[in-house]
């Protein structure tokens, strides 16, 4: 713009117009963090009678007696942790194998079928898993897995005493349920491994098996670990399918083939009939323990998965 010599152009200061669309949608989106905070606050408030009365002993006590109002969560905590880890151990080999196959092997057709199959497995409601586990999986596992194993290895205490409703059967159905999560995230992590790595290995003369086992999987190790932790988070919180086959036994089982209990199963079974002040509060405290544990596990897993995908692609 031409100006006469000596005149000055005055530029008015820029006014920032508030982006009302951003504040409006941001406020609506804020419902989510608000809900998370409210859930924890409300549950803590409802559990507080039990928290103050039982203190830390709640987590280490083994006696669950609504009549004498003495509540100890250790058997339930043990059951939750044991079923989840056993389920992970069962699901990990299959899940990683599925992930490897989905990430690279085979023609598009087979991969499509397997991928769809695994996703449908994820879509099946947990109560359908439960009824199937109750009437199909548990009896089969009792007859073909528990009894033979306990006959042969029963001298080891924790492989004796087979039962249809057992810690082992609950872990088995949990393994099937967490398989899709495990394989889907592992597949994404394996896909994120740069192609250059595989090509280098092949150029050095490695077979497909050697490349996968010694190059790709180690590179994806941290991400697969993150996927495992995420699947662990799902397994810890699973309620209905586990409740139907765990056997509802308020004590640490002497064997993995014996009935046990989990945090969510106790809540599901007892909450609607809990009376008084301390029984419901103790049950809600169980829910609080469950939420806090799954929260920590999930946040750790998300951080792991995200940081691995970044690191792996950065290393290319």
């Amino acid at each position: 713009m031409a100006t006469a010599a000596g005149s000055q152009v005055v530029i008015p200061p820029v006014r920032r117009v508030p982006d009302r669309f951003r504040t409006l949608t941001g406020a609506i989106a804020s419902v989510v963090p608000l809900i998370v905070v409210v859930i924890v606050v409300i549950l803590f408030q409802q559990a507080s009678p039990a928290v103050w009365r039982y203190g830390v002993g709640f987590l280490t006590g083994t006696d669950w007696n609504p009549v004498t109002e003495s509540f100890g969560a250790l058997p339930a905590i043990f059951g939750t942790v044991a079923t989840s880890f056993l389920a992970l151990a069962l699901a990990l080999p299959v899940g990683v194998a599925v992930a490897v196959v989905l990430a690279e092997q085979g023609q598009q057709g087979i991969r499509g079928v397997i991928g769809t199959g695994v996703e449908l497995l994820a879509a099946i409601p947990s109560v359908v898993y439960g009824i199937w586990a109750l009437y199909v999986l548990a009896p089969w596992s009792y007859a073909h897995l528990e009894v033979p194993l306990s006959e042969r290895f029963g001298f080891i205490g924790w492989l004796s005493q087979p039962g249809v409703r057992s810690l082992f059967n609950a872990s088995l159905v949990l393994a099937v349920m967490i398989l899709p999560t495990l394989s889907a995230i592992s597949r994404d992590v394996i896909r994120a491994v740069p192609r250059g790595l595989r090509e280098n290995a092949v150029a050095l003369g490695a077979t497909w098996w050697e490349t996968t086992w010694r190059v790709i999987l180690p590179a994806a190790r941290a991400g697969i670990f993150g996927a495992t932790i995420l699947a662990l988070g799902r397994a810890l919180g699973e309620t209905i399918a586990v409740t139907m086959v765990i056997g509802n036994n308020h004590s640490i089982p002497p064997s993995i083939f014996a009935p046990a209990y989990t945090l969510s199963a106790v809540i599901a079974n007892e909450f609607t009939e809990a009376t008084g002040v301390y029984h419901p509060a103790a049950l809600i405290e169980l829910g609080l323990v469950l939420i806090l544990v799954t929260l920590i596990v999930n946040v750790a897993a998300l951080w792991l998965v995200r940081s691995t995908s970044r690191d792996v692609s950065r290393a290319a």
Binding site: F21, T25, G26, I28, A29, S30, V31, V32, P33, I35, V36, I39, I42, L43, Q46, V94, A97, V98, V101, Q105, I114, T116, G117, V118, E119, L120, L121, A123, I124, P125, V127, V128, G130, I131, W132, L134, Y135, V136, V176, S183, L230, G233, L236, G237, E238, T239, I240, M244, S264, I267, A268, F271, T272, I284, G287, L290, T294, L295, N298, L302
Partner: protein, 267 residues
Amino acid sequence: MYVLTLLALIPLGLILWFTVSKGLPPALHLEFFTNSFRPVGVPGGGVADAIVGTGILVGLASLMAIPVGILGGVYLAEYGVARWAGWVRLASDVLVGTPSIAIGLFAYALLVAPLHHFSGYAGSVALAVLMLPIVIRTTEGAVALIPSGLRESGLALGLPRWRVSLQLILPAAVPGVITGALLAVARASGETAPLLFTAFGNQHLVFDPNGQLQALPLTVYQYALQPYKSLQDQAWGAALVLVVIVLGINLASRWVLRRQIALAGQL
């Protein structure tokens, strides 16, 4: 490797096989869908109460969760680099991983205990909390996929930002958004634990969300644990109906997505 992979598909086949083989006989009668709970020994029991209950619960939950989720997803996609958006995403992932029974306890503490009665409203609030993070994340993903050229064209033509988002970008992302909403609906239809202490179940065919409502997953759960074969058979029938609904919604959403990809390829 392939052997282990097949091992993964065997449970799917078994579940579908048994659900169909045990669920089809009771479900083949029309009265299974028109009658409600009949006591043991009285023939002709059905799941009409459960189907209506699920419809009402999921419908109310969708009304609460889907609009909020879509707008929240638009926020995350449009202003995703803001620090608050990071917190919303984290909270959303945390909520997805929260055990559904804890959400049921939350809805109980909020809406059942103070009002001194179980209600369908409490159940649908619990289901809405479950659906919300799914809708938000899938909407964000769908909107983020739209090429920025569309947004830039709209802005270049002088449209305000909200018009660009809501009238230009969002309609283009509709298939992905619908897929996300459908997946959330499928998830909510199959959930049992949040309904155990909120909707609580009902043995009559009722339409009032202010009272107890039955739902398909509750039917499966309650009847499967009964010692009577007739009720167990109805549980399998209800499980079959549930699986058909859920898998149907999943396959339908895949079809919608595939159409979008095909259409996008023609652009």
